[in-house]
Symmetry: C2
Subunit: 256 residues, 2 copies
Amino acid sequence: MQFTSEVTEHGVSERAFELEVAGERVPGIIWTPEGAVGPRPVVLMGHGGTQHKRVDTLLARARAYARHQRWAVVAIDAPGHGDRTTPEAAAAARANIQARIAGRTQGFDPERMREMAQRTLRAVPEWRATLDAVRTLPEVGEGPVGYWGVSMGTSIGVPYLASESRVQCAVLGLNGLRSGMDEFAAQAASITIPLLFVFQRHDELVNVEAGLALFDAFGAKEKTMHINPGGHVGIPAHEREEFERFFLRHLGPGGR
Amino acid sequence: MQFTSEVTEHGVSERAFELEVAGERVPGIIWTPEGAVGPRPVVLMGHGGTQHKRVDTLLARARAYARHQRWAVVAIDAPGHGDRTTPEAAAAARANIQARIAGRTQGFDPERMREMAQRTLRAVPEWRATLDAVRTLPEVGEGPVGYWGVSMGTSIGVPYLASESRVQCAVLGLNGLRSGMDEFAAQAASITIPLLFVFQRHDELVNVEAGLALFDAFGAKEKTMHINPGGHVGIPAHEREEFERFFLRHLGPGGR
């Protein structure tokens, strides 16, 4: 884990880092309270498709968690995202997803499905390596761990959580289970940590039946599905407060 | 509004009262912070079928709201419930609902539907009269108003809220919309205040499709459905915290 920059403002230290995982350079950011000493909860934040590790909404949550709860927060660029793609390819991916939303296109063609599965396969060891690395920092240590990731963050989060015993709770959402997704269903069934699953009633990319099917598939005894009106990118602001309180309930507040 | 008893303990004053509405004696309770002065938010609490105005879960919430948020809380016995029935009739009603839960009996026969509609019809003006009465108290006044009621509390709450402009937000749930319930659907559509709609995934009395249909029917732009695993009487404890925060977001904290 190599730090490449550090900035501290408004009580939050933001450090960029790089990891090498299976020959790939994985860029990430860790946010911690200024002057943090000793172990604390850490929240892993998986960004959505076409987004990156420092997208506005994620950055705002990361700063709030470090500032108000004294947690550490970590984000990495998913394969093919952020610093791991070109501006042109990122713009093309955004145009593609916008067209899918406008066209209410649910599901993906077989080629795209294979591409997504490959990306997911690469992202899982990257999250494992990231957690390994941040836990060597004294200001993170062996504190409790949460995962946050909706949409693509759930496509990656489900196989990651299925293979990871160090995460205590997770916020997932904007994703579903359709027939033929047997491996995803099996992974979901093996997740038994408390879950908050957020869903949009008018999601252009996933219908509520698929969302309920994924919610049902999770092996967790404590799981709650929050359904709000609106489309895929319209999670209402008040849910941010719910995410934070969910993590607080399961991870506890940060220390010094 | 005639007070019949008053007890203050642990910082909460509990006063029993009676109202006369359309020739009926309606018994109620109001909880307020000890020594409360001036207007404050008030939460109207509608108990479930076979329950009463001082059932354990309601009493615990009422005390917590008065103590922690300095809100006023009001509950009344619904028609045919609490002090408005006999112990024998109440026991028979409880046995009936337990048999329905055990038998997973959804919907009701026409006679029972008529009986429920009549009860609802009587409960609506009783809630209006109750709000009129408590607003004459200086320690309630014209503060913001919330409504809480699941199961029968929603069967009564939907027509009540449809006819009441003084309520700012409501927690509803454990109820659904089936074909033929056109009046209930129209009442739901006319409710535009923020709603938290809580639902149990394995509710023995209402399936999730009926629950989603009612959620969809509400006219509110800001509405969230919380789905948890478990049966009709199994709302998990953490939802109590969500109810309180929902009311806090929309009603604000109580004053002196």
